[in-house]
Subunit: 337 residues, 5 copies
């Protein structure tokens, strides 16, 4: 039905399921149990966060689809690469975006995460194990912040907010790299610098691809006023929207700065080449005429009066010195060195 | 009436006609029969997919126009090169887009395909024989998937979806090429690389021309809520729309990456030139002064004291060695090599 | 009243008037008669196409203005250079666009043509004699196609359509030129090529200026649903609109292709320069050290042991050969040639 | 209250006041009188055009503000540099734009002109003495054209129209310069050319800054349907709007042409450099090996068989000639000269 | 809750609080008092401006939040870096923008300032001590201008206006720098120039990031017609909006001018390189053939007729002079120097 649905799953790593079920008074967490058991534990009077790590087991997605009565297209979207978007269905809201991981700001990895928000549940589908939410899970358990006092839509906001906040960390790392490269640019100029700038540019291209549609997705979420999000909580999603717009501003700024780095790099390179060519020209321009002069007096003509002069040799040295100094003065005047 | 209608058809290869008529219980396929016979087999109670391969026989298009009561402009649009668009007529819906064929991702061929969707029929007009639907025809016959359970508008969705899904294959091939070129760029640098980058750029230009208007066409289809598409099936077309937007994001990304490749190519080229010029400068700067010195002692002055010195010759070697090594040290210090 | 109305007409070539008056049964054509006579022949029950070639006779425009009760601004617009636009007046509709002539696709000439559409008449104002409509006039006379069966708004559509269709011919000629240049680029590289690319770029700049506003003008025509165009004929204008959008897509594509040509041109030029510099460097790098060596043995030191050796001369040749071959091998290894 | 209100007026040149008061039958002009006297002469039953040249006398602006009951912000806007805009107040309409002066199309000077349109008066505030309206003042006096038959809003239209029409003159001068530079580019190439192109670019940048917001200002004027402009006269302002859009098209075209000029300039420069480098390479490549050869036979080896040969000298000349001609043929074959 | 809320405040410099409480008749200022005391002094019947310098004391922000009943997200926004925006809450209006400081137009510093506008109070949160309002505080005290006669929304307008007016000073300083660099460009060309241009470009990038979203924020303020701003005062905010749009125009112009500076810089650099290469070529092309000639007559062939000629030596000088002069004439003809 979708563009990659024909590809069979290469391997079937085990899918990890987790349920966090809570309300103001209760908190329960189920981990590592079978899907059927997990579904039984869902309590419609509480908030149920079902987290699915790994999407390879079609059996599980089918059962989830059946249990929560999800649309076939929704499951298609969960399973395939999507641009960040929001989609409202009859009995749930679908939201997908990219989760970023960055190791020392060097390599950014992208993981698609999809949320299905129902009246009393939130399902999060992750491609790989591991996420950014461990700290937040602990906050739920310990009843810190507002999350236990709010409905399931606030839970969705918090998860999106955590992912978007992490974008700032990634962007800060890129900002630091830009500054670092800029400082080095004036000092020394190596092939390595160019490759780092190109790498940055590439990272910004991919970041933009992940963040730009997210703005539209959030804007749609806020403007459509979905039934699954309470009126008073729209402000929170609006706030995330503002963050994303701010991020895009920064991305644009970083893109401009990277272009500027390229300009500086190219200019430095040209300057170096110019200096090299100037050295070549100075040396050639001084010595080529001198070599001609000594060549003249190396000729073997029988009738060659200068060669007989007593002070011919020192005279020729004097002439050549005057010539060389004269040219050096000229080049200095022309600011060639 | 249209911009190429004055051109006579150069040759008249035989037009291939095909009818697939089905509903939940029945399936019938007519192939290679004459048009009149085929039109008789159309069953208004079932779903009738009329496929026309080759558009050269004006007789056939006229008969189809008469039988289905099609507007003259619609037939004009079918026969001439169009940008992807959707057009609603009184008793049918017209949709046209480009079908892509790619042999190893190297050369992309474009074929215009037009759909005319009526209440109980779908006509597909193709320029050439052969399409991407063989696998899907088999699915209809075997009653796999939802197609036999749905109306004729779902059939249109499926055909468009198959074409758009194939865009991903083409794009993936381009993505692979970009990565391949990028890996080779750092290793060796040939004229061939530049030509490959230019070819990619050109392919992306033409792809954009085919895909960009498709977004508008699909958006119009979804927003206008045509009578020929059931409300509940609009979601499917919306999903194809999302895919096309995603494709455009990828096209933009690939365009940026190709620009980046060009930058790398140019930088590598400049680096190579700089290295060559540096070698020239080093060799010249070292040997031109030395050649001058040996020229001095090749002069034939009668009064030339140094020539008489016992250790004149080794001394001059010593001086020249000191000079040469000094310059090499200087260049090394300047990081010229 | 308008920006060029102060300029007096430099010369007054004779204005050519023509009236074609027709309906389903009748056809009459008046040519080369005086304006007064021509106006008398206008039959309000039939369709009257008044064609004015040459705009220099203010007397004629004034009489036409008076007879058809045209607004002063409309006449101003007819007489001065305008961007393509549509303007609805109380008792007529004004539409202006550029008519293109191309001799072998080399030089594109622009002529402004203005249409005034009334309830039973269409006036076309052309700057110069000669147009693209001769073939179509014949079709009216012979009652071919739909034109005699339709109202005057269909006549306007047909004339605009003919002009826009001719844009395709101009664009195709440009497309052919781009392909021709591209093929030549890889073969040889001359100053001429660069000039052709620049000329193409300039032609595309001017074409864009003529076609881009036409899109808005047609869009306004279709959306405003003027009283002078019948509801059912709007579809025809919409079709021309689609053609213009398609043209703009092609213009963008050609613009990108021309940029690409420039890139290829610059790259080829740089490659040539690089090759020249490499040749210079190879020759210099090989012979400058050799010249130094032979210079050494040209020195006139009295105490110069090597000069006395029996095999000194062949030995020095051997050394120089080893050096030269070594450097050639090195350059080959570095892929300099 | 505004960004430059803290700056005191450096000098206080005398402000020049002028009143033209007219209707269909009457015409009166007051010039060089004091403000109080002038205000007394204003006749609410006629059209009163108050023209203020020079804005330095705060006393006058304050009195005008009091007399016409103008908003403080309006006076602020009159006194400070503004982007072209239209602003409707309770009892007047404010419109400001730039008036251009060009001496031979070389230097473009900008003057801000502000209009305040009331029910029976129009005030025009100019920064400096002198304007483009002298010809038009004469037309009012002589009752030429429609102005005496129309209301005060038509007067505003005419003044704006005169200013915008003058933009065409400035733009034509720029167009002529572009053509002139283009013709010279192919002939000779001097530093001067580059400076002229840069000057043009700068002029276009500033022109765009003046004209672009004017489009929005006029569009707002037409769409807001102000009470101070009669319905039937909106068409006139719409016509000026069309002119401004046309001007912007031309500005874009000229910008593209100027970019194209830069490309041609850079290409010509590169071609010249390439030619110079080719000459250097040809001379070096021919003579460096030859110099080596003659160096060989300048060596002083005792055992040097060739030197003894009777035809050694002519032979070496022959070898060198063959070598030189061979290389020339090679370079010709490579199309280096 | 927000992207930097996890970071603890590194140090806790003292927060400076200030209250200015006034109406038409009264004026009171409290400075350096504790928060509790300050809050007591707030008089709901007057206008209360609470200014908070330094945001590090969470205790103070929490108390303010509690006292004025502020939303948690608002406090988050105050504490974290935001793009300029306006946000309406139930009982207050939030507005944030950047305040700029520039020392001699060299380095621009950005400080985020947030305003919370209630029915009778305005809170301004500044990151650092010191602002642009001292002059204005004095005007309030002395009852100059309109501020004491107006409501609290006018106070907000005045503060924003002062900040935006200061942008003009910063922009003027940049404009002066551009002119300064441009004048120097034609004279001498140093590495320093390039760095100044790059610095300007960077400053413009950051300025744009600060000013661009401000336009949207002000537009939203004006269009949303907040309850906290009186209808008649909207015009003032609209005026600031116009200033910001004018600023953006100037920013664009400066950006274009800076690009133009870069073009000039690069062109000057290329010209210099071309001149150097021409000198190299002239010197080489003249002396390399001459050196070859003198080399010829330095050969030691036994049979070498020319060497025996009486006028051989002066003849060779004559030939070389003719050659050198010929080449100089040729180069002059080619306009190489």
């Amino acid at each position: 039905m979708s563009h990659t649905s024909d590809q069979p799953a290469q391997a079937t790593p085990s899918v990890i399921l987790e349920l966090i079920c809570y309300d103001r008074e209760h908190y329960e967490r189920a981990d590592g149990v079978a899907l059927e058991e997990l579904l039984k534990k869902i309590n419609p009077d509480r908030i149920n966060w079902v987290n699915v790590d790994g999407l390879f087991d079609t059996d599980i997605t089918e059962k989830l689809q059946a249990h929560f009565n999800l649309h076939a297209l929704l499951i298609d979207d969960v399973l395939n690469d999507q641009r960040p978007k929001t989609e409202e269905y009859d009995d749930c809201l679908y939201f997908t975006l990219k989760m970023l991981y960055s190791i020392n700001g060097e390599n950014i990895e992208y993981e698609q995460i999809s949320f299905v928000l129902g009246s009393h549940y939130l399902i999060s589908f992750q491609e790989k194990e591991g996420d950014l939410f461990d700290f937040f899970r602990e906050r739920i358990r310990l009843d810190q912040g507002r999350v236990r006092k709010k409905k399931v839509d606030y839970l969705l906001y918090r998860l999106i907010d955590i992912i978007v906040d992490n974008y700032y960390n990634v962007l800060d790392a890129i900002g630091n790299q830009i500054e670092e490269i800029e400082e080095n640019l004036s000092e020394n100029q190596s092939e390595h610098t160019f490759q780092r700038i190109q790498k940055l540019k590439k990272e910004l291209i991919f970041l933009r691809k992940a963040v730009y549609p997210l703005r539209d997705a959030l804007s749609k979420l806020v403007k459509d006023k979905s039934d699954f999000i309470e009126e008073e909580n729209l402000r929170y999603f609006d706030d995330v929207y503002d963050h994303v717009v701010h991020l895009l501003d920064s991305l644009d700024t970083y893109k401009d700065l990277t272009s500027s780095l390229m300009d500086i790099h190219i200019n430095t390179q040209n300057n170096q080449l110019n200096k090299v060519i100037k050295v070549l020209t100075i040396i050639s321009t001084i010595f080529i005429p001198l070599t001609f002069i000594v060549g003249v007096y190396g000729m073997n003509f029988r009738h060659f009066p200068e060669l007989e002069w007593t002070y011919g040799y020192p005279l020729i040295w004097a002439i050549m010195l005057v010539l060389a100094i004269g040219m050096l003065v000229y080049f200095r005047f022309k600011k060639w060195f």
